[in-house]
């Protein structure tokens, strides 16, 4: 019976969304905030007892079926389940979401009521989407949640309605994630065809049992789906621009939950990925490459939110590396820890930037340490966890687990371990830059700002989790059925050394003017290796040119037929459509051409003219003169008399 409680978990945010979006009761500011918080925190309240019961073993795996639809031997049974992955994922999501909601209540207090209502409605819908994805027991609910997150991210990124930049960012994010979603949908549908059922527990064995080429294709499609959503290498350009959204959105979506959904997906379908070694290797390589790429780009950033965005990309790269190495448990552990410290970093950065005069540029953060000390302290803890400060921060434990998993995975793993180690060092460099910058003395001494407890409480909680989270790593890995990797003391020492060098590097970069100048000049790096520009040049612009050509708005498609609406647009759009019209008009002309000078008509008219001339001629007979008639009379008489006489001859 407890299973149906599962179904209840995503419902409160959904209810919150409906109430806020449709706004039947015309709520004003306070009720809106109250309703949003209630709907935001309710899943945590509902799910925590379940999670605790589950982790303490009081409750086993559960499946709560929603409805079934059978289609011949195919059976579509939608349901939600409670298993290790969904328990861990859901609890993380609910915790982080609640913290962000509380933070947002304070952070967004400046907005208009209508905007506030729209913002919280979308945040609640997002949480419902994420929860249904994580808790899904079948591919349909999974994909439903997956796409709902994409939709909410579009609306939330372009939350600031009036700025075209925000809308462009939202559109870019939505299109790129949608490409990945299409691949994911293809994979899921192929799996469905394979397994004649939608349930995960039947999909995965069927995927394993599928013949070689088909299984490989499915695995690749799932990987592409994960890469797209988690903004990994080929698809990563949308995440930095997505920072145009408000900070709470970045804190929830673009750090902890949505971008990490790719990792959850891969963890969910890990057996399929591992079944095809090629794809597993590809995942690992993609992960490591993205980690390195993200770290490098983050170093060159001048805006703290873009810095954190690139760091998200890089951290999720690590999770992919873990899945690639065949350790989904480790990936999930890092997912949990990363969720905590990354959302903390984003929220703290939000408060610091407010304290530093509203702009999120790192330079502006100078001296904010003294303006908002608590936020600065929590930011430092978060940065330490991000950099993987040895022993003290939770980040260290989960990163060590990943590096250990990489080492244990054989020679190929060791090579990746080396690269990942370099990445870890670079992470250290960029992680502390905002912290050190904030520590420097302010240019002009700003008064000590007031930090409302509503904003600070979640920060403190998350800071604690970022430190104590290390203890969670071991149990999570066991829960997920993996074994905690013990790579030996040497590897751990190497990891610690990397973290320390990262810290030293960060100090060097901020305080040594020459190095600092070199970072400022690294424009290509800052623009993410200009991949954005490359995509635009090779993909977006040709596409736009084709669209303009086909829709005729560049006027090159020949002059216009008839006086239809296309006339105002200059040139004929829709070539295929007009081809039919042109063919029709040509056919009509050809068919009617022989009759154009209507030959029958001309013949008839000629006859008519002859008749008319004859008519005129006879008219002259009717001269109106009496004598002519008398002559006619006489002529007639004469003829008759002759006839009469002629007859008497017989």
């Amino acid at each position: 019976m407890l299973a149906y409680l599962l179904l209840l978990v995503p419902l409160p945010p959904l209810g919150g969304f409906l109430l806020l979006a449709l706004d039947p009761y015309r709520l004003d500011r306070r009720p809106v905030l109250a309703l949003s918080l209630a709907a935001g925190i309710a899943p945590l309240v509902l799910f925590l007892p379940l999670a605790i019961a589950y982790f303490t073993g009081a409750v086993g795996d559960m499946i709560a079926p929603a409805f079934t639809l059978n289609f011949g031997q195919y059976e579509v049974a939608l349901a939600m389940q409670l298993d290790p992955l969904s328990a861990i994922g859901a609890s993380t999501v609910t915790v982080v979401a609640s913290c962000v909601m509380i933070y947002a209540a304070d952070y967004m207090s400046g907005a208009r009521v209508a905007d506030l209502r729209r913002f919280f409605a979308l945040m609640n819908l997002f949480q419902a989407g994420m929860l249904s994805m994580v808790l899904a027991a079948d591919s349909i609910v999974f994909f439903l949640g997956w796409e709902l997150m994409g939709l909410c991210s579009f609306f939330l990124i372009s939350y600031n309605m009036t700025s075209p930049r925000a809308f462009a960012a939202g559109q870019k994010a939505f299109v790129m994630t949608r490409i990945a979603d299409a691949a994911l949908l293809a994979g899921l549908l192929l799996l469905f065809l394979e397994a004649t059922s939608v349930r995960m527990d039947e999909l995965i064995p069927a995927g394993l049992a599928a013949e070689e080429s088909r299984a490989a294709i499915i695995a690749v499609l799932l990987l592409v789906g994960a890469l797209g959503k988690s903004a990994q290498l080929p698809f990563q350009t949308w995440l930095p621009t997505a920072m145009a959204g408000p900070t709470p959105v970045s804190a929830l979506l673009h750090s902890a939950t949505m971008v990490a959904a790719g990792a959850v997906l891969l963890a969910r379908f890990a057996p399929l990925i591992e079944a095809t070694p090629g794809v597993a290797a590809a995942t690992a390589i993609a992960g490591v490459a993205t980690a390195l790429f993200g770290a490098l780009c983050a170093i060159a950033q001048t805006d703290v939110k873009r810095l954190l965005a690139y760091s998200s990309i890089s951290q999720i790269g690590y999770m992919l590396l873990a899945v690639g190495m065949g350790a989904p448990g480790v990936a999930m552990a890092h997912f949990v820890i990363h969720a905590f410290f990354k959302s903390l970093l984003f929220m703290a950065a939000g408060v610091l930037s407010h304290a530093g005069g509203g702009s999120t540029a790192i330079e502006k953060l100078r001296g904010t340490a003294y303006v908002a000390p608590i936020s600065f302290a929590t930011y430092t803890v978060g940065a330490a966890a991000l950099a993987g400060f040895p022993i003290l921060s939770a980040g260290w434990w989960s990163k060590e687990a990943i590096l250990g998993a990489a080492v244990e995975a054989g020679p190929f793993g060791q090579f990746l371990w080396l690269v990942a180690l370099g990445g870890a060092a670079l992470t250290g460099v960029y992680a502390y830059r905002p912290v050190l910058c904030a520590l420097r003395k302010p240019l002009h001494d700003a008064p000590k700002g007031h930090e409302s407890w509503l904003a600070v409480a979640p920060l403190i909680f998350l800071a604690i989790m970022s430190v104590l989270g290390g203890y969670l790593v071991e149990p999570i890995i066991h829960e997920m059925g993996g074994h905690a990797p013990h790579a030996g003391l040497g590897i751990e020492v190497m990891g610690a050394l990397a973290a320390i060098t990262g810290l030293i590097g960060s100090v060097a970069v901020t305080f040594i003017p020459s190095w600092n100048a070199r970072i400022k000049r690294a424009r290509r790096l800052r623009a993410g290796m200009q991949m954005d520009a490359i995509y635009y040049a090779f993909l977006v612009r040709p596409y736009r040119r084709i669209v303009r050509l086909l829709s005729g708005r560049d006027g090159r498609l020949g002059k216009h037929i008839g006086e239809g609406p296309e006339a105002q647009e200059g040139g004929m759009g829709d070539p295929v459509g007009t081809a039919t019209v042109v063919f029709g008009l040509w056919l009509a002309r050809v068919v009617t051409a022989p009759f154009m000078p209507d030959r029958f008509d001309t013949v008839i008219m000629r006859g008519a003219r002859e008749a008319q001339r004859a008519g005129l001629w006879t008219r002259r007979l009717q001269s109106g003169r009496l004598r002519d008639y008398a002559l006619g009379f006489a002529l007639g008489l004469g003829v008759l008399v002759i006839l009469g006489w002629g007859m008497t001859w017989g």
Binding site: F192, G564, D574
Partner: protein
Amino acid sequence: MGLSLQILLPFFGGLAVLFAPRFGRDYERYGTIAVMALTLLVLIFSALNGDSGRWLQLVQADWAPSFGIQVLLAMDGLSAAMLAISSILGIVCVFISWEVTHRSAMYHAVICWTVAAANGVFLAFDLLVFAFFWELMIIPAFLLIGLWGHGNREHAAMKFLVFNAVAGLGLLAAVFWMGATAPEITFDAFVLSEAGYSTPVQVILLLGFALAFMVKLPVPPFHAWLPDAHTQAPTAGSILLAGLLLKTGAYGLFRFPPLLFPEGLMAVAPYGMALGAFGVVYGAILACGQVDAKRLIAYTSIAHMSIVLMGVCGGVHFALAGAGVEMIAHAFSSSALFLLIGALQHRTGTRDLRELGGLQKTAPAFATSFAVFFAAALAMPGTANFLGEALVITGMFQVNWAFAAIALVSLVVSVVYATRLIGAIVFGKPKSETAVFEDLKPYELWPIIALGAGTIVFGLFPQVLIGWLRPAIDAALLPLGVGAP
């Protein structure tokens, strides 16, 4: 009896509505709503206690025995769904055109007649009667666009008329040839389905039928009439056009080719799917390039209906089910979008995307409803559109992966044009003249809620819908030799 009422009630209702204004103001509007509601009730009544066999209801009566023409009306799940949509859209149309005063009696009568003709198409199984209703349908739509449209409506109405009339010839030619060469002159679809034509003959006849259906469906080579018709049609005209007339093309493809020419369909199916695939991509790309909102939605309709064509030609259970669901979903979502654009044009006087914007600030309810149907337009899971497209893609995976890939591409491109539409209208700073206009009025809000509910409910709980379509799908696939999935 219930079936013939489906056709006669709206028809004579239309006549009655013509004289309704004499009894009082707005009586023609209430009259039309009453007629449509009554038709819906009769439909529900006759569907509920229909017998459980192949057909829910079957009416067979002689019309002209010497020519073998008879009134053969049959209804199963699919036609019942279509009839329900036509009545519902009829009511929606009346609500929308509450401020139409220019010759409103005739306007409402034409709406009733369009519904009557469409109901005729959905029920007729005597090929000649089917062809009759098929041709009849064009006239009220032509009037609707020609008399009450905007801009140069004559051009659009004429283009619509020529396209559809010429296409009707293909259908008529095939029907007459079949009727004439049958052993004893008959147009009964069931008798003719056992006529056993050779495959090449079947292909030719199928092409005749397909020409008519593909022009109405608008599949790319024959779609030039749709964008013009939609941009110049009044809001109710667009809704009837998109919600009803396009569906008759799809319904025709769904019903008759498998029934009458199974071998012909098998032979032609790959080309049909290829054409559908081309249509999907072509419609989507053109939709991205449009500046007029209604033209944009018209091209999206082409893309969606091409998916239906792919589904119908798929010849697999999933594909056909997907086609059926997509038809109904498209009816809801595109009608709602046309409704919103029409309401917007009514307020701001323009449909040009470059001049609209900032709706969120000025009319939040408008913006929210736009968001819902924005989700439907890009086939967001949870809406019926997604279900339709997902089923078709599954079917395509079973048939040919290339077509499945193209259908997936359409999913991506649909995001581009959908975001472009909502970006231009809802986002951005409000232009000066769009700043001051009132939000959705009740008579516009209720239809949107109805259509939105339809999309979401069928999206989340499709078993009702698919249950309705199953008998039609099984019957359609039986002659193709495709057993249960």
